[in-house]
């Protein structure tokens, strides 16, 4: 029996005026790769944001347990320091903050990653090489004027530097072009190889999963987790879409 890293138990959440997630149960085992799929607007991204602690969503019932501790009420920074990472669909631009000093700051605040300036520089250099990200980006302002693919690389760079226990990759609507797709795939591979962490990939694009050993697949429709299966479920969705799951949910009367 594998250790459980993340347990979501009976979680309902939403914005002030609109419930989005309904009675979610989800368990992620250590070192496993899970995929969360579902049609547009199903609430997949919301679940990723709620796990990260985005204050724009309120948890109305249920709990989130991470690494043995209840994190339901923790702020995002505490969750990050505990080992959760969320890669955003559209990372924000932060003018005036050089990428390199930002990376240094977020690493130095973690006792397990604290290191000398020289070792840090080497480590960043290695990862940049892996991701084919030019050094010149390190002196630029965080994400400012970066293309979609460059922003993805910066997210993967942070993922590999921070080595979180759980990485949630929110790739829902990022209209991934071939380049971005290969960047994310490369990031995932390196993360799996170097950190042996747990992955939750949120997507409705099955191509990203082609090079990935998926342990479990979850399907979300209108805020409900409606199906769970092994990797073969990905293939099924690829072939016939989500309509079967939507129909089943409607038959059960589970309309939000």
């Amino acid at each position: 029996m594998q250790d459980t890293l993340l347990t979501i138990d009976g979680l309902s959440a939403g914005t002030e005026d609109k419930p989005i997630l309904h009675d979610i149960h989800l368990e992620l085992g250590s070192g496993q790769t899970h995929v969360l799929m579902g049609p547009n607007g199903a609430g997949k991204s919301t679940l990723g944001h709620v796990i990260m602690g985005d204050p724009s969503y309120q948890v109305t019932s249920g709990s989130i347990t991470f690494d043995g501790a209840d994190i339901t009420d923790l702020t995002s920074d505490k969750r990050s320091l505990a080992g959760i990472f969320l890669s955003y669909q559209a990372p924000v631009e932060v003018p005036g903050v050089p990428l390199y000093s930002f990376l240094r700051t977020i690493c130095q605040m973690r006792p397990e990653l604290k290191t000398t300036a020289r070792k840090f520089r080497e480590r960043v250099g290695q990862i940049c090489e892996q991701l084919e990200l030019s050094d010149s980006f390190l002196m630029r302002e965080l994400n400012v004027g970066f293309s979609g693919g460059e922003k993805k690389k910066v997210e993967m760079l942070q993922l590999l530097l921070l080595q979180p226990k759980l990485a949630i990759l929110d790739e829902t609507d990022s209209g991934l072009d071939v380049d971005a797709l290969s960047i994310v795939s490369r990031g995932i591979e390196a993360y799996r190889a170097q950190c042996d962490g747990t992955l939750l990939v949120i997507t409705h694009n099955t191509r990203i999963l082609e090079r990935l050993d998926v342990d479990r697949t979850h399907v979300m429709v209108r805020g409900h987790l409606v199906a769970e299966g092994d990797a073969s479920l990905v293939g099924e969705i690829d072939a016939s879409g989500f309509s079967r799951f939507e129909d089943e949910l409607a038959a059960k009367g589970g309309v939000a």
Binding site: M52, D54, P55, T75, D77, S80, V92, P95, V97
Partner: protein, 475 residues
């Protein structure tokens, strides 16, 4: 309110800024009576043993001060400033020293805590340090002196037969005493400040710095800075100011007159961190010759009320002015800042880039005035102003004025006002930054275009000031 207290103090609310906030005892200091009388003005003049022309200038300025009215409908309210309760002259009982060891211990400690002697050893060509009304330390590196550079106080220059005529020729010519009421006040009671003369063709590889510390409570500081950069010469001058916090109002009404000759360059950097009981009513002006360049870098963090609009006259053809500034207004602060450029020469260029940050109810007003004269063919000016508001109770206004009298000139203005987005805070927090760290990071980033114009140690000081202002910002 019939039985008003004997001494009414102007009070302003209190903000913690312990790094700058330490007071040294004033015991044994020479302190003139509060208020303004011809006797006080004569006493200041006599103490300085000035030439008669300077004494006459002071007395004329005093008349002007009493005659002139406060500008009505201008900027933040300064009615809380009562000149009858401000001492215009407070002097520590010490002579000006050329060696820090000769400076009295408490004053030396003050400047050490502000990092001045250290900066002098590492990266400055010369330092002047003013404490209350008098300069207590002044020194310049040998090799700079050997190039003929003069860096001294105006008082000392007035006692030097070679420089007295030069001071007489320039002093008070850029900022007329009747320019406004506080200019008149300044000329009546000015004390301390710097006189800098850079001979033609001389480039200083390190900056000169004057630091102004107002330790006394209920007092004013009225230093006069006069800088002449001769043809083809190059100078970076840094001015720093701070004061501990008091409940009584303090007043700063300095004057800065800058003469930048043909082909010369002057960069004038200021980090102003007056305490939040200070009325900072300061006047700065530069005149720029042909092919010469004036650069202003200005960081304003302190004071209760500021009126500060450095003005540049681009007189010579192809002369240029760059103004880079940032103001940070927190609780109890109402900062009215900006800049003014008058383009008179042909092919002159001015570029103004300012940032303002308001928080905890702080008020920022940015005024720019660009005047393009009739003969300024092909003159170009751009003004850009961006404001960041950190909450809903703060305020930021931009008031641009342009007066273009030449059809071949071009001017541009842009202003943006923004807030820190929740998405940005979430992004940074989800990478491990606390909310306060995330906000500080965003504000530092916003200020970065200004801090990168400063020498490293001042950029660090500015970032520390921002951090200090941001601390406790999160409830």
């Amino acid at each position: 309110m019939s039985d008003a207290p004997e001494r009414k103090h102007s009070e302003v609310a209190d903000v913690d800024r312990s790094l700058y906030d330490f007071v040294m005892p004033e015991e044994g200091y020479e302190r003139y009576d509060d208020g303004l009388t011809p006797d006080i003005v004569r006493a200041i003049s006599a103490k300085k043993d000035e030439p008669a022309w300077m004494r006459e200038l002071r007395l004329k300025a005093l008349d002007a001060f009493h005659e002139m009215r406060m500008a009505s409908n201008w900027g933040p309210d300064v009615s809380a400033l009562d000149m009858d309760h401000i001492s215009t002259y407070v002097s520590p009982q010490t002579k000006q020293a050329r060696n820090w060891d000769d400076v009295p211990d408490d004053i030396k400690t003050t400047f050490e805590r502000l990092g001045i002697p250290e900066a002098e050893r590492e990266s400055l060509a010369g330092v002047g340090a003013q404490y209350d009304s008098e300069i207590v330390y002044h020194n310049m590196r040998e090799e700079v002196a050997e190039q003929g550079v003069i860096y001294t106080t105006i008082e000392d220059a007035l006692h030097d037969p070679q420089w007295e005529p030069v001071v007489h020729q320039y002093f008070g010519t850029l900022i007329p005493m009747r320019d406004h009421k506080f200019a008149a006040l300044h000329y009546a009671v000015w004390s301390g400040g710097s006189f800098v003369y850079v001979p033609a063709g001389v480039s200083l590889s390190y900056p000169l710095q004057s630091y102004f510390r107002l330790n006394a409570s209920g007092a004013g500081q009225f230093e006069h800075t006069l800088i002449i950069v001769e043809e083809g010469a190059d100078l970076h001058f840094i001015e720093g100011c701070s004061a501990p916090k008091y409940y009584e109002a303090n007043l700063h009404a300095g004057a800065v007159e800058l003469f930048v000759k043909d082909h010369a360059r002057l960069r004038y950097s200021t980090i102003e961190n007056w305490s939040k009981n200070m009325f900072n009513l300061n006047t700065k002006r530069a005149t720029v010759g042909a092919d010469a360049k004036m650069e202003w870098v200005s960081g304003s963090f302190g004071s209760h009320v500021s009126y500060l609009y450095p003005t540049t006259f681009l007189q010579g053809a192809r002369s240029s002015c760059e103004f880079t500034g940032i103001t940070f207004a927190g609780a109890t602060q109402d900062l009215d800042t900006g800049c003014k450029v008058i383009l008179n020469g042909a092919d002159t260029t001015a570029s103004v880039d300012t940032k303002s940050i308001s928080k905890d109810g702080g008020v920022n007003t940015f005024r720019s005035s660009v005047i393009i004269g009739r003969r300024a063919d092909r003159a170009r000016a751009t003004v850009s102003c961006s404001s960041l508001m950190l909450d809903d109770i703060s305020r930021s206004d931009t008031i641009p004025a342009m007066d273009v009298r030449n059809p071949t000139a071009s001017v541009g203005h842009e202003a943006t006002i923004g807030r820190i987005s929740d998405d940005t805070i979430l992004y940074l927090m989800s990478r491990g930054c606390s909310e306060a760290e995330a906000r500080t990071m965003v504000v530092n980033g916003f200020a970065n275009p200004v801090s990168k114009e400063l020498p490293l140690e001042y950029a660090v000081e500015m970032n520390n000031l921002i951090k200090l202002e941001m601390e406790g910002a999160i409830g």
